[in-house]
Amino acid sequence: MKFTWAIWAGLALAALPALGHHSFASEFDTTKPITVTGAITKVEWTNPHTWFYVEGKDETGKQTTWSFEGAAPSLLIRRGIIKTTLKVGDSVVIEGFRAKDASTVSSSTFVTFPDGKKLRIGVVGGPSDE
């Protein structure tokens, strides 16, 4: 399992990220990674993208509610991630790339739970760079 994630993480670094739905570069900046540690406050299990809201701190210590865009529900379901996998109140570390406009919006890549379970929830960085 860990080996698999190592491969995906490597691909995430190597691949040019792109969204299926719209141009990644039109909204996000791959030179601005973000890691937020906090708790999930809202999940929008919707098309064309899922959205995960996390109240917590980024790596600079800034505290706010951050929003992370995720892959479409159908793509997540095929990875075994369902509507109740990420729940309000869950403690998480969520990673992604920041919006170009330096807002609190980001494109997600991975979420990690306290037990170490790591899931690819984003549209970028996967085996087929979804």
């Binding site: 792109a18 739905h21 141009s23 990644f24 064309p48 479409a72 159908s74």
Partner: protein, 241 residues
């Protein structure tokens, strides 16, 4: 006695030819299984397929071979990076981009047509294979007008009649209303389709160029719902224009 000897000859010939035929198929189909066929003998493309996600048709990727640097005309250079993005606004993504997306497709085949269902935006496209030509006096279309013909086990699809409201790929490679798309679908074995798409557009490109892909059969997958307007906050909240 003479009749017996003729049938003996036929049997002997069949004994030689049938294994040869099987060997020939094995040579072109790496998988051990033969390709499924329609009652009319045509190769059957039906099934749910996972095409590769092609963000940029010029570049190589998993299960796809890019065209290399694209031969843009001055018109295309002027339209590169156009801010308009039909798919981001939940309008039709365009013919090539619908298939470029990271979502599966389902192909339904009949003797007179092949239908592609796209999970992406839950749209469909009909390719007529009944011998008709392109429709006359076409209004410019989001996904064009397609006719197909079989050449052995290869389906060739010819599509024209496009508007200029879409782009070819997520990166935003432009096309004009002179776009002519030629595709080949060939089921190479039980679980793969060899696919290629050639882009001809004299207004946007100085020469035709081609992208080559492999589709993989996903027998346990079904297409799922995709309602683009449900929560398109990238646009409704003004993240993108």
């Amino acid at each position: 006695m003479k009749r017996v000897s003729i049938w003996t000859g036929v049997l002997a010939l069949a004994t030689v030819l049938i294994p040869l035929s099987a060997a020939a198929q094995n040579a072109t189909a790496p998988a051990a299984t033969a390709i499924p066929r329609m009652p009319d003998g045509k190769a059957d493309l039906s099934g749910v397929w996972e095409p590769p996600f092609v963000n940029d048709m010029s570049k190589n990727g998993k299960n796809q071979q890019g065209a290399g640097p694209l031969p843009y005309t001055e018109w295309a250079k002027a339209h590169l990076g156009d801010p308009s993005d039909s798919q981001a606004h939940c309008l039709p993504p365009g013919y090539t981009r619908a298939l470029n997306a990271p979502f599966p497709i389902e192909i339904l085949q009949r003797p007179d047509r092949v239908v592609i269902l796209y999970e992406n935006n839950n749209i469909f496209h009909v390719i007529f294979t009944d011998g008709r030509g392109h429709a006359k006096d076409l209004d410019p279309l989001w996904a064009g007008n397609s006719i197909g013909k079989w050449d052995g086990d290869t389906l060739e699809v010819d599509t024209i009649g496009f508007n200029e409201k879409t782009v070819l790929d997520t990166r935003g490679d432009p096309h004009s209303d002179q776009l002519h798309v030629i595709e080949h679908f060939r089921r190479t074995d039980a679980t793969h389709i060899a696919y290629d798409v050639t882009i001809e557009d004299p207004k946007a490109y100085t020469r035709p160029w081609k992208n080559v892909r492999t589709f993989t059969l996903m027998p346990n997958w079904n297409l799922m719902e995709f309602s683009c307007e449900e929560n398109n906050k990238d646009v409704t909240e003004g993240h993108i224009k």
